[in-house]
């Protein structure tokens, strides 16, 4: 008797395997039935949806990115992105809950010791705890390496002073990965280290929550660190590894944002298509007019192209491609711009109805904008791609 495990069949690059389809469909059903009905309210109130975070935890969705030995489901990048995409189709804020959980934990996955992973992963996998990624500062956005928060060694601890801005989940996270300068004299990219701050902690404060254009249910926080003590055992990797950890993290987390963008765009396309089928003007449904039909066709082409690039990028990054940075930047660049264009067109298709909150497309358009901004602006993505193409100057 010959044994064949179902794991023998890895998905090919052009078709999702049965397992991925099952997973995608399972998340879609949940998104349609339980998340979608809450989306408008989450946007209107701007409140973090604790109930939806618990829903994701209960259904093991937050466990997807974590290794099985710590209670996770051992999902690869493609699996996580499939889930983010389906959730974001219904509600961009909810898709972000999974995406940020992945973003925040990647530094621990990439640079944490076995002991650190065993310490933090179980509660993150179960969804009991949330984690945030704190790199950006008021004066250090695209120029992240210029950040100024410091971490001074003091015996068996570090003392962190400074602050962070625009940190997703900064006010609801139990763990915050903070990037700080440990050696201001070192070369630019060796100045930083990464620390896992356990919250609440003396010296850690949330000083502001932003009122945003979109993803309004996702708390975006300003953090202040005043003599915040962090055990040395909470440092990830060695001193000076911070920049590398941050960049390698973004290489793997950008597809998550691309997935959010693809999901938002798909959701908008579906609303616009349904509207074009139902709405009649001049004696026929508006979808049958060429101007509308052409718009919808272009929207579909855009979403599908962004989606396929995303899936391909996930597979390449997981396979250890040498140009992972390029794949990561490509998929986020294309998906973000597509989401903005498709959601804007969706509002256009709905005409006046697209502008009011009776239909979700105005929210989707507001939600889409962030995918061109965070985890590296589109301009930064282009920089990364150009650099990959051209190499450094001789």
């Amino acid at each position: 008797m010959r044994s064949v495990t179902t794991a023998d069949r890895a998905p090919g690059p052009y078709r999702l395997g049965e397992e991925h389809e099952m997973l995608r469909d399972a998340v879609r059903v949940l998104a349609d039935e339980r998340v979608a009905p809450r989306a408008a309210e989450v946007d209107r109130t701007g409140e973090f949806p604790e109930d939806l975070r618990r829903l994701l935890a209960d259904h093991d969705i937050l466990a997807l990115p974590f290794p099985t030995e710590h209670g996770g489901l051992g999902g690869e990048l493609l699996t996580v992105c499939l889930a983010v995409e389906q959730l974001s189709r219904a509600c961009a804020t909810t898709g972000l809950i999974l995406a940020v959980q992945e973003l925040g934990s990647l530094p621990i996955t990439l640079a944490g010791t076995a002991e650190q992973q065993a310490r933090w992963f179980p509660a993150l996998a179960s969804g009991e705890q949330l984690i945030a990624f704190a790199l950006t500062e008021a004066e250090a956005g695209s120029d992240a390496a210029a950040l100024r928060t410091t971490a001074r060694r003091d015996g068996e601890a570090y003392v962190i002073d400074g602050g962070k801005r625009f940190i997703s989940h900064g006010s609801v996270a139990d763990l915050v990965v903070v990037f700080a300068v440990t050696d201001s004299d070192a070369k630019r990219h060796a100045r930083l280290s990464a620390f896992v701050v356990e919250v609440p902690s003396d010296g850690f404060a949330v000083t502001r929550l932003e009122h945003k254009m979109g993803i309004r249910g996702s708390p975006t926080a300003e953090l202040a660190f005043n003599g915040l003590r962090v055990p040395a055992a909470n440092r990830l990797g060695e001193e000076g590894d911070g920049w590398s950890i941050a960049m390698r993290t973004l290489d793997r987390s950008r597809p998550g944002i691309a997935a959010q963008a693809v999901g938002i765009a798909q959701g908008a396309l579906e609303v616009a298509t349904a509207y074009a089928r139902e709405r009649k003007q001049f004696g026929q449904r508006i979808g049958d007019f060429q101007q509308i039909g052409a718009m919808l066709a272009d929207m579909d082409a855009g979403v599908e192209a962004a989606r396929q690039l995303l899936y391909k990028a996930c597979v390449e990054i997981d396979a250890g491609a040498a140009d992972a940075s390029r794949w990561s930047a490509l998929c986020k660049l294309v998906a973000g711009d597509t989401a903005m264009r498709v959601t804007t067109d969706a509002v256009q298709v709905l005409g006046g109805y697209g502008y009011i909150d009776e239909f979700p497309v105005e929210r989707m358009m507001r939600d889409a904008k962030i995918t061109q901004l965070y985890e590296g602006t589109q301009q930064i993505q282009r920089l990364v791609i150009a650099r990959a193409l051209l190499g450094t100057a001789d």
């Binding site: 008797m1 010959r2 044994s3 064949v4 495990t5 179902t6 794991a7 023998d8 069949r9 395997g17 049965e18 397992e19 099952m22 997973l23 399972a26 998340v27 059903v29 259904h59 093991d60 969705i61 466990a63 997807l64 489901l73 051992g74 999902g75 699996t79």
Partner: protein, 263 residues
């Protein structure tokens, strides 16, 4: 408690793409394969029983083309513990007689307390294979189950069998073979945990030689039936649409029925 669940990958009935090959055999490549609908109900029943017992396993058994592991994956994701697949190119084109013999032989290689099967499959709809397997292997056969209650201590099983006027309660000793229907209850959606766990579950394959079956007695070579001709059914006449008010509409319906001597 060990329950074998017979499963069959069938062309997806929702696809509408099923068709036959030029020689009359089913073209399995024409549409994606899914687990036969009725098999999911008995699988769900098996999973519930093993979960309630707190021990045991659910084993899938299938006779299918080599691509079957993909279809069995959903059943594994629902919670089945492992699978056994009998696959051999010589089996292509097998009729119900060969299918019965092969599955009966494969069943003999597995230790079990109960075997569950769907009453029929959406591609063949014959509903004869489970009864045949039971007859060949000397197993008590209880069919059209709407409820299944095993008693592991007494080694007996009770089945509620749908009858024209209600239901009968049947009982037999284990091991037994039971065929079941939709009345057993909705199958669960595979959970994410189940979907990911399915990766590491094994499907053991069996070839005909291991079962001691002569290839010339199965497959197209050994088939007892042959499809000679096929065509779409005669088209129905065009639909006549009535949009009148209820009384007038009803009047027209009655006239229509009277014309056809149905009233």
């Amino acid at each position: 408690m060990r329950i074998v669940v017979l499963t069959k990958p069938v062309p997806d009935p929702a696809s509408g793409a099923e068709r036959l090959l030029p020689d009359g055999r089913l073209d399995r490549a024409a549409s994606p394969a899914v687990v036969n609908g009725n098999d999911e109900y008995v699988l769900e029943a098996a999973l519930k029983l093993v979960e309630a017992a707190g021990e045991g396993e659910v084993i899938l058994l299938s006779m299918a083309p080599a691509t079957a592991p993909e279809t069995m994956r959903k059943a594994l994701a629902m919670g089945a513990h492992r699978g056994v697949l009998v696959t051999d190119p010589a089996l292509e084109g097998s009729c119900a007689v060969a299918t019965t013999r092969v599955l009966a032989a494969a069943l003999k290689t597995i230790e079990f307390d109960l075997v569950f099967a769907g009453v029929d499959t959406s591609d063949g709809v014959a509903g004869v294979v489970p009864a045949g397997i039971a007859a060949l292997n000397g197993l008590p056969y209880l069919s059209y189950a709407a409820g299944i209650e095993p008693d592991m201590t007494a080694r007996r099983v009770r089945v509620r069998r749908i009858s024209p006027t209600g239901f009968d309660v049947l009982e037999a000793a284990m091991p037994a073979l039971i065929s079941g229907t939709q009345a057993l209850g909705e199958p669960r959606y595979p959970s994410l945990k189940g979907i990911m766990a399915a990766r590491n579950k094994t499907i053991d394959t069996l070839a005909l030689a291991e079962l001691g079956i002569d290839p010339s007695t199965v497959g197209t070579a050994g088939a007892k039936t042959k499809v000679h001709a096929w065509e779409p059914p005669p088209p129905r006449a065009a639909t006549r649409v009535i949009r009148d008010a209820p009384d007038e509409a009803a009047r027209q319906v009655v006239a229509f029925l009277a014309e056809r001597r149905l009233v």
